[in-house]
């Protein structure tokens, strides 16, 4: 049996049938296809989470509204938060990790291609499992943070919390597997000559993010295991009556939850660090310092979790300690913002859509950062906790930060991924509508919070002075929705009849622009030799100080392409993910299903492991 698919130069892949095409996507181990799967699934979940937000905004548009009940409102904000964090922003980042990491380090795939497929299928089963709760009429309603002991059997007797807790557990497994994979990929698969400091900043930020994922997720895994034992097997971890402390949940959750904040923002920071130098036609200002700042943020990210808990009364010593670390973490963040601005300084800037979104990121994220530093002070935080001020703050960093950054990346890499250019004019319309809508939605929420409007209330009386700004906020939310309709229209229009993208439409700086758009399955016909962070730019333009452009490598020969071996597709990842989903969902249905699913999981893990037993030996048999 051949263990590797070889590429005959000039041989065309025959046009597959419809079911053949479906099967090829279900069994793909190509990092680019998995990246596309991640990106499109995440965008669908993003739309679902967005619709949940719109319903909430409609409910809050005027006082004493009765569009949804209090219970439905609880379900909406729980699913909105959970969806946006775990099913939209994280997998959108994962889409870029998948697609771009191998391209930017000059590799042909990730270290474990089948594990990569497994991560995706586990992710999708976790997302579907969470949403099955709508069909089961037991929608999670405990908030995305699921504070104990509201989640106990006593206060949440239905399966709603079970769906949430098991869904997050499934998603955590997916994220951690992907984390191991990308860590090994980045350390072990860089092209010859690419030392750590020659990696581009997006790779660096992804690298830090993977460390955060593999080190922070175990804390929520344990928190959820303890919750699962409390709910299913009668343990007492979060039971005050038995001496248990509900704060245990808060500590474990935020030991995960604060690094999670950086898991959400660092990839976007990496994208912005790629887009700015490309469109300013200038190297990233102080790139090593941006890298060190990213590492510092990752490190400090583990030491600030209790600033989410100032209002529970931890005492002055703990409050002071976490207050200081929180203020400190603003320093490397500020350093980055300064460096991005200095990258633009003196550049020959081309105002194109990816740059618009990156500039939007800098402006909006800075505002979110400033309100964040305000919360670092416990007395101020006590005023702001559980008000709309906090809602405004984290939307400025998550939407104004992560989403702007991710869409900058989407516009930037779209031609590389699809081979078509998105329409510039529609892109700018998308940007301005989103920028306007975003600020109209969330800026008034600062004010609403400061005049006392609490979070998570499903309605309010008309004489509190909140009516006008709530209506404004709702109008803003629909403007954001409109901006995404423009984006979807842009995608449909340009997919049908868009301009074909060249290999290097932006005059890019990094390796992914040196190969065709979209890239061939093997990415690099010849693995490049890297001499600099902006290697491709130096090949094209020299160093800008009179140095001649670096000689380009000789053309690739047909024999070289024929010698490339890529791993064949595999159906074990999707089967294994299904078996795991069967095992975990069995906890809500029957123990027999858990046992059968568990045995099936074990068997499929064995088949998975044995599929390429002795890969180096494949040609000998």
């Amino acid at each position: 049996m051949a263990t590797h698919a070889a590429f005959m130069p000039g041989a065309k892949v025959e046009a597959p049938t419809f079911w053949g095409a479906v099967a090829s996507w279900l069994t793909t181990v190509d990092h680019k296809r998995i990246g596309i799967l991640y990106g499109s699934s995440a965008f669908i979940f993003f739309l679902i989470g967005g619709i949940e937000a719109l319903i909430m905004r409609l409910q809050l548009a005027r006082p004493d509204n009765t569009l949804v009940s209090a219970q439905t409102f609880n379900e909406l904000f729980t699913m909105h938060g959970t969806t946006m964090v775990f099913l939209a922003i994280m997998p959108m980042s994962a889409a870029f990790f998948n697609y771009m990491i191998p391209l930017m380090i000059g590799a042909r795939d990730v270290a474990f291609p089948r594990l990569n497929a497994l991560s995706y299928w586990i992710f999708i089963s976790g997302g579907l499992f969470l949403h099955v709760s709508f069909l089961a009429k037991a929608v999670p309603d405990g908030g995305w943070f699921g504070y104990a002991n509201l989640t106990s059997h006593q206060f949440s007797p239905t399966h709603s919390i079970d769906f949430w807790m098991l869904g997050l557990q499934i998603l955590g497994i997916s994220s951690m597997l992907a984390g191991f994979n990308f860590l090994v990929t980045i350390i072990n698969m860089r092209a010859p000559g690419m030392s750590l400091m020659r990696m581009t900043v997006f790779i660096w930020m992804s690298f830090v993010t993977q460390f955060l994922i593999v080190l922070a997720f175990p804390a929520i895994t344990v928190a959820l295991i303890l919750l699962m034992f409390d709910r299913f097997f009668g343990t007492l971890f979060y039971s005050p009556a038995a001496g248990g402390d509900p704060l245990l949940w808060q500590h474990l959750f935020w030991i995960f939850g604060h690094p999670e904040v950086y898991i959400l923002i660092l990839p976007a920071m990496g994208i912005v660090s790629e887009v700015l130098p490309t469109f300013a036609r200038k190297p990233l200002f102080g790139a090593p310092v941006i890298i060190y700042s990213g590492i510092t943020i990752g490190f400090f990210g583990f030491g600030v979790w209790s600033h989410h808990m100032f209002s529970v009364g931890m005492g002055p010593v703990a409050d002071a300690a976490f207050s200081i670390t929180t203020m400190l973490i603003a320093v490397p963040t500020g350093v980055k913002i300064l460096n991005w601005l200095c990258t633009l300084w003196g550049g020959s800037i081309r105002f194109q859509v990816p740059l618009y979104f990156s500039l939007g990121f800098i402006a909006m994220f800075t505002m979110g950062g400033l309100s964040g530093v305000m919360h670092a002070s416990p007395p101020v935080d006590l005023q702001q906790t559980d008000t709309y001020f906090v809602v405004a703050h984290f939307h400025y960093v998550l939407f104004g930060g992560s989403i702007f950054g991710l869409f900058s990346g989407a516009y930037y890499w779209w031609p590389k991924i699809t081979g078509k250019l998105l329409d510039e004019r529609l892109g700018k319309v998308h940007f301005w509508l989103m920028m306007l809508g975003f600020n109209v939605t969330f800026f008034p929420q600062h004010y609403l919070g400061l005049i006392g409007m609490p979070r998570r209330i499903y309605t309010y009386a008309g004489d509190l002075g909140w009516n006008f700004w709530n209506l404004v906020s709702t109008i803003g939310a629909f403007t954001i929705a409109l901006s995404f309709l423009v984006f979807i229209y842009n995608v449909i229009k340009t997919t049908r009849a868009g301009k074909v993208a060249s290999a290097d439409p932006w005059d890019g700086r990094t390796l992914e622009w040196s190969i065709p758009s979209p890239p061939p399955i093997y990415n690099f016909a010849r693995v490049p030799e890297v001499q600099d962070r902006d290697d491709f730019w130096l090949q094209k333009h020299g160093d800008g100080h009179g140095g001649a452009p670096r000689p380009r490598p000789a053309p690739v020969t047909a024999a070289e392409i024929a010698a490339i071996h890529m791993p064949p597709s595999s159906f074990w990842p999707i089967l294994l993910a299904l078996a795991m989903a069967m095992m975990i969902s069995g906890l809500l249905i029957s123990m027999y299903q858990v046992i059968v699913g568990g045995l099936l999981t074990l068997y499929l893990m064995y088949k998975f492991a044995m599929e390429h037993h002795r890969p180096a030996d494949g040609h000998g048999h």
Binding site: N188, R190, I225, A242, G244, Y606
Partner: protein, 201 residues
Amino acid sequence: MADHAATHAVHDPNIGNTGLDHRKMGMWAFLGSDCMFFGSLIGTYLAYKGKSISGPTPHDVFDIPLTSYSAALLLASSLTMVLALAALQDNRVKVAAWWLLATAAMGLHFVLNQVYEFWSFVTHHGLTLSTSLFGSTFFVLTGFHGAHVTGGVIWLLLLVSLAWRGKLDRRDYTKVEVAGLYWHFVDIVWIAIFTIIYLIP
């Protein structure tokens, strides 16, 4: 070019550009993550130590000699694991299989001791998952360690079966080395758990 193509064809896709094996590095990444997993569980145990408001205390129930014997078994199994890898690297496949089997047997003995320990706690001392915070934290922490050992035993037995079927030799030593990394890690975690739960009063 033909030479280049030929060397490329036999290049082991598991070896990265640093010269290190992907699988080994992946296992180290997993173990780093697992440190945080056990760290959180041990942290929970310590946070709740002495906070139980009813039920037997740790020193009412612990059988230190039995658990010491279990700990010794697990530590000894790390030695046989090393011997198995060394034998395989010398291509003494039969010997390696026996050492792997010995490792699995000691691991299984450890798990059976733990099953007996849990059973005696439940029946003789009335300590269950829902008796007290001590019961909850103790059974969940040591139970997850036991689950790790059980997973390791299954893994080792699969390697033994590969060896017996002639599918494991010197070329595959990394598979045994990676299993060994996991096995030694589970041992080390037990040293921490044994000290923190059983030995410190």
